[in-house]
């Protein structure tokens, strides 16, 4: 037994939805990208590219994560950025608007 929430209660990433940087997360720019610190769950996450940081910061301006990825991810990298956003969703760096 673990204390993890049932799968149905966990946020699942859906690129068709509108997302944003979680309001309890602070982003701090770094040479490699940015550090994200979640003041609620106290997690520290490394965002390891500038484009990813721009994508996360820009999510709020797009109607869907897919639109944001199309606009910002380098050519041919859309699938990788989508997978990364799914991971950031699981660690609550981003949440649905």
């Amino acid at each position: 037994m673990t204390n993890a929430a049932p799968v149905a209660e966990r946020a699942l990433f859906d690129a068709a939805l509108a997302w944003r940087l979680h309001p309890q997360v602070a982003l701090r720019d770094e040479a490699f990208g940015a550090l994200a610190y979640h003041y609620g769950n106290r997690r520290l996450v490394f965002l390891k590219s500038r484009a990813l940081v721009e994508l996360v910061r820009s999510l709020e301006q797009y109607g869907s994560a897919a639109d944001a990825i199309d606009a910002i991810a380098p050519p041919g990298e859309a699938q990788r950025y989508r997978a990364t956003l799914a991971r950031l969703c699981r660690s609550e760096v981003i949440d649905v608007r």
Partner: protein, 168 residues
């Protein structure tokens, strides 16, 4: 004369070698004053250092941490809660999104203070206890903190305030 050397983009492991823009967290011994006399005290605490920072100076340090985006500060001492401005500094830091994790002997956590602390975001508390009963604890910590004062935090921290126990 200067020569422009074309810069190669750094791979991630080399970027990490250059360090971060600022610390992720800092450790701050807010005071050396302490109301106990633990046999194992690492910082030889007890008396207040006459040169310790004033409230205004301490707030200035917090301002610097906020400007650097230091995410949180580990506060210890001494016993940080013996500073008369402890709650002012705590609120000041949290208000500037500098989270506070502080270490305390718990003797200054009255029931109302426990409620106040449990209601604050960005605050984590570590209470040091050196035994499961008062004679064991008090022999190590000096001045009989459990036998004389009890430990209001054991009953005052509300359910769901996220308490956990680990040796320290």
């Amino acid at each position: 004369m200067s020569v422009d050397v074309p810069t190669q983009p750094l791979v991630l492991k080399d970027r990490f070698k250059q360090g971060l823009a600022a610390p992720i967290c800092l450790t701050w011994e807010l005071t050396y004053a302490c109301n106990l006399a633990c046999v194992h005290c690492l910082s030889s605490s007890g008396r207040r250092d006459p040169n310790e920072l004033t409230t205004a100076e301490a707030m200035g340090v917090i301002d610097e941490m906020a400007a650097l985006q230091v995410f949180y500060v580990n506060v210890g001492g001494g016993e940080p809660m013996v500073r008369a401005d402890f709650f002012d500094l705590l609120s000041y830091a949290v208000g500037r999104k500098v989270g506070v994790k502080f270490s305390t002997n718990g003797t200054r956590i009255s029931a109302p203070r426990a409620q106040q602390l449990a209601a604050m975001d960005y605050v984590d508390i570590q209470i040091s206890v050196d035994g499961a009963d008062a004679p064991t604890n008090d022999a190590v910590r000096g001045r009989a903190p459990l036998r004389r004062r009890g430990a209001p935090w054991t009953t005052s921290l509300p359910p769901g305030s996220g308490s956990s126990r680990s040796p320290s």
